[in-house]
């Protein structure tokens, strides 16, 4: 009986997408430690819809996967029957260079998007620490890098999206023009939803021109307060920085604040010199003008397969206090914590190696939550070893009224809770 039903679901999946695209899941296919049953490899919207219709009919719980670089991020899924592997859905469908717009299937790597855009002197202004990351995964997790300071986050650059709903229905929102207010902008809702509202199969992005010249202006300081002052100096200048990042490899170590400027030849260098002098005037340390980004630039202080990775948010003016709070929290527990991120926006990433005591890490998260809350922010555990995941809610508290609306939204899009159940906030 059991076997017959299971067999029926498998047979239906094979019929929908082709036997050669369906296999039993292996050890490498786990989703945050949870073992799925099958992996279906799909090449785009049509096959995704076909697979999702079968999943709906047979009540299968589905997690979509691109390159899998962030498959362990978020809360632990309750269960996964089917991993929908979109890595075959890799194609730049359209690059309208004159319109600075690019349409790609969800499994396309960001590296490939950048390669194609660069041929026309353009870029998708979404920096990715994991170069293999795919369009779909980047949208689902809403991950960006330093350039967000000037160009905006994923949600600001996404102009159109195709999503297959939990019931297998194909839907789109937005379009291929940047300026467009027709209908609800569901792209924003899907961005950062961790695959819990539907399966992203295609996206249209706004591109920006690649600048001719780049400079980085860096200052290294020992005190969090001074680092906060340096960040403020850059932010409040008229230098129009592309990014304002900070890096501190050890809890008590030196803090580097580094601004990225880009633009026309010569002009950019001149702006960088001016900014360096301005920093000298405000924090008493002259900025060093670099013609290449420092090696840590745009990377997480944790890996896609190691470490506890946190995202810390605070209001931007509190960045110095946040750095100080992070230092204190790590020192209390003698944890080797590294912190890095978009200081100009009030977003930092923190990393603790796997060797750290899980109980101490969980305790650290609680303290960081208290610190960030004080500055209007939050501390989210992006990824962590199982021992840490087991003891902390990765998302932290969310105000009741807003959470109610989130639950209602989930219930509308995925009434049976079959899309990565448990992975998102509040058990969604």
């Amino acid at each position: 009986m059991a076997t017959r039903t299971e067999q029926a679901a498998r047979t239906a999946l094979a019929a929908a997408i082709g036997t050669e695209h369906l296999r039993d899941a292996g050890q490498a296919d786990t989703v945050g430690g949870v073992q799925p049953r099958w992996v279906a490899s799909v090449d785009g919207t049509e096959q995704t819809a076909a697979a999702m219709r079968v999943a709906a009919e047979h009540g299968l719980r589905v997690t979509a996967r691109g390159a899998g670089s962030k498959i362990d991020w978020g809360g632990t899924v309750e269960a996964v029957d089917l991993v929908l592997d979109l890595s075959r859905a890799s194609e730049i469908c359209e690059h309208a260079a004159g319109d600075l717009v690019l349409r790609a299937r969800a499994g396309t790597s960001l590296a490939e998007v950048q390669r194609v855009a660069a041929e026309a002197g353009q870029q998708l202004s979404i920096d990715q620490p994991f170069p293999e990351a795919t369009v779909g995964g980047v949208i689902a997790t809403g991950t960006t890098g330093p350039g967000r300071h000037l160009f905006g986050a994923v949600r600001d650059l996404l102009i159109g999206i195709t999503v297959v709903r939990a019931d297998g229905v194909v839907t789109t929102s937005g379009g291929k023009v940047v300026k467009n207010v027709a209908g609800y902008d569901l792209g924003k809702l899907y961005t950062g939803s961790y695959g819990t509202l539907g399966v992203i199969t295609e996206a249209i992005f706004r591109l920006h021109p690649l600048a001719a010249e780049h400079r980085w202006v860096a200052v290294t300081l020992s005190d969090p307060g001074a680092a906060g002052e340096a960040v403020h100096t850059v932010r409040s200048s008229q230098a129009m920085p592309t990014a304002v990042e900070t890096d501190r490899a050890e809890p008590d170590g030196p803090i580097t604040v580094c601004a990225h400027l880009e633009g026309r030849p010569q002009a950019t260098h001149r702006r960088a010199r001016e900014l360096a002098e301005r920093l000298d005037a405000t924090v008493g340390v002259s900025g060093e003008v670099l013609d290449a980004a420092p090696p840590w630039w745009g990377r997480y202080p944790f890996g896609n397969a190691w470490g506890t990775g946190l995202r810390l948010g605070a209001e931007p003016a509190a960045i110095g206090s946040l750095l100080a709070g992070v230092q204190q929290a790590a020192d209390h527990r003698d944890l080797p914590l590294a912190v890095r991120g978009s200081a100009g926006l009030g977003v930092l990433h923190a990393g603790v190696p796997d060797s750290a005591d899980p109980a101490a890490v969980a305790d650290l998260v609680r303290e960081l939550r208290a610190v960030t809350t004080e500055y209007g922010g939050h501390a989210v555990v992006l990824r962590a070893p199982e021992a840490v995941r087991a003891t902390v809610d990765p998302w932290g508290p969310i105000a009741e009224g807003e959470l109610t609306l989130m639950h209602r939204t989930k219930d509308q899009f995925d009434p049976e809770h079959r899309l990565s159940p448990g992975r998102f906030v509040g058990g969604i």
């Binding site: 009540g59 949600r155 600001d156 467009n180 129009m240 633009g263 948010g313 009030g346 500055y375 219930d411």
Partner: protein, 493 residues
């Protein structure tokens, strides 16, 4: 449906509730006074609301919305009423919630580059409050001297400078909203990336169908070190369009790049004497901003591109007064058309910018075939067209012909992969075109968001969507056993 008598007694009870909660003069029921709210900026749609309320704070908005929820009465929020799609068109049996008494700027927080405002605050007043500190609020719809930030949020307003700086959605950090069931909810937060669904992003641009914003945290931008503006006259829109393409292809992102054709230049000239180049078949207004070193360099390139593509006159604004004069012609274009035509429709379509020459040729052919004059004003950098379709309402059939041409222009936009609205919104006016741009599945999916906020469809009903989705009881999570388990597959799943 309720019987008339029952309806009016419900309304009376509701009005009593309003009078208890609001100031005596904040509940309007006098028919003459109600009539002043019968339309927004789109005057050809008119509906007199049953009652108008003028709440002074979030708590009052909440009590109004709560009462509406209790009595099952629809409501519509309205800011300054400058919208051009009938988004704030009242409901005949409903309540119009006007935010014009909620005009406090609650906080200007320069250290965090933001301001907290009430929804009725005028767009330009945000910039005025930030200017002393060297900051400004980027969204700048042409109506910025009168339109409200709450209205900007509802419509996700753009403006001439959104080519470089984006729309309202890119400049709102957090909001307090009253949901249709009368709850006060915070969306977004003081820090970026608040965990959870981006409900803030979904709310902005939902045209007042998801609730009423009562407190809005806006992002302030550092004023640019340098702003340079030029006006270039071209023989025709073809040359002007080619110049735009050359500028963009050169990797320049101007703060704004606007085009007007001969007819709209003529209208602006008559209305505001902006002194645009004589004999121009098209003018471009190009503005660059940023660090002086960058702007100087790029500005020279823009001038060169204009020259190389047939500009017969390029005028550079020497000071703020000259800059204002250049912009005056452009910003007054809609109103100015009233000088050359008694009636006109302001259209708002979008095309991929590269399709501009073809679409303009087709619009011109449409105009010639139908005998309906069309003046073109547009945000050339992002392909947002504002064709002004002229007609004389006294001539029988003229309005219908104009409407036909206007609709055909939208079809042209869609044919070229564009949109039926770039910044004015769908509102009441373009509901009928939504089905041409989206499938019924797309619209159904969007309305799932609506169902999660407003399952009873009482919040600005009849806008955006041609057919309301029945929300029903959300099926909710499956509480019981998994079907495969139930069918005997046991615990593998």
């Amino acid at each position: 449906m309720v019987a008339n008598g029952e309806q009016s007694s419900t309304l009376h009870a509701l009005i009593r509730r309003f009078r208890d909660a609001l100031a005596p003069d904040a509940v309007i029921t006098d028919p003459q006074q109600l009539r002043t709210y019968e339309c927004d900026g789109l005057a050809n749609h008119r509906v007199v609301p049953a009652v108008v309320v003028l709440p002074e704070d979030a708590e009052q908005v909440r009590s109004v919305v709560r009462a509406c929820a209790e009595y099952g009465i629809p409501f519509v929020a309205r800011g300054s009423g400058t919208g051009l799609s009938g988004g704030a068109l009242p409901h005949a049996d409903g309540v119009l919630v006007v935010t014009s008494r909620m005009r406090r700027i609650l906080e200007v927080d320069i250290a965090n580059e933001r301001a907290v405002v009430e929804p009725g605050v005028i767009n330009l007043d945000v910039t005025r409050a930030a200017t002393p500190y060297g900051y400004y609020f980027a969204p700048d719809p042409s109506s910025q001297q009168v339109c409200s930030v709450g209205g900007n949020v509802a419509e996700n307003s753009g403006g001439a400078h959104c080519l470089k700086y984006g729309f309202t959605a890119n400049h709102i950090l957090a909001m307090e909203v009253v949901t249709p069931d009368g709850e006060l909810v915070e969306l977004g937060g003081r820090a970026p990336d608040a965990p959870g669904y981006d409900l803030l992003g979904a709310f902005i641009g939902s045209e007042g169908t998801l609730g009423v914003a009562t407190r809005i945290t806006v992002r302030l931008l550092r004023s640019p070190e340098s702003v340079r503006t030029l006006l270039a006259g071209f023989p025709s829109t073809d040359e002007a369009g080619a110049a735009v393409s050359a500028i963009i292809a050169d990797g320049v992102t101007p703060a704004a790049i606007e085009m007007m054709d001969a007819l709209s230049i003529e209208a602006a000239e008559q209305a505001v004497h902006c002194g645009y180049p004589e004999g121009a078949g098209a003018v471009l207004v190009v503005e660059l901003d940023g660090p002086a070193a960058e702007v100087d360099h790029t500005f020279a390139e823009v001038q060169r591109h204009c020259g190389e593509h047939g500009a017969f006159e390029v005028r550079v604004a020497a000071d703020e007064a000259e800059r204002a004069l250049i912009w005056k012609g452009r910003k007054s274009a809609f109103a100015a058309v009233g000088r050359i035509s008694r009636d006109y429709i302001v259209q708002d379509g979008v095309i991929p910018r590269t399709a501009l020459p073809e679409v303009l040729a087709r619009i011109s052919a449409l105009s010639a075939e139908s005998g309906v004059r069309v003046a073109n004003v547009f945000h050339a950098g992002d392909g947002n067209l504002h064709p002004l379709v002229l007609f004389d309402g006294d001539h029988p059939g003229a309005a219908e012909r104009a409407e036909e041409v206007s609709g055909a222009i939208l079809d042209l936009c869609l044919e070229h992969g564009g949109s039926i609205t770039g910044e004015h919104g769908v509102g009441a006016d373009k509901v009928r075109y939504m089905g041409r741009m989206f499938t019924s599945d797309d619209l159904d999916t969007m309305q799932r968001v609506r169902c999660s906020f407003d399952p009873e469809n009482r919040c600005n009903p009849g806008k955006v969507f041609p057919t309301p989705r029945l929300c029903g009881e959300a099926p909710g999570p499956r509480r019981g056993v998994h079907p495969l388990t139930e069918a005997g597959l046991a615990d593998q799943f």
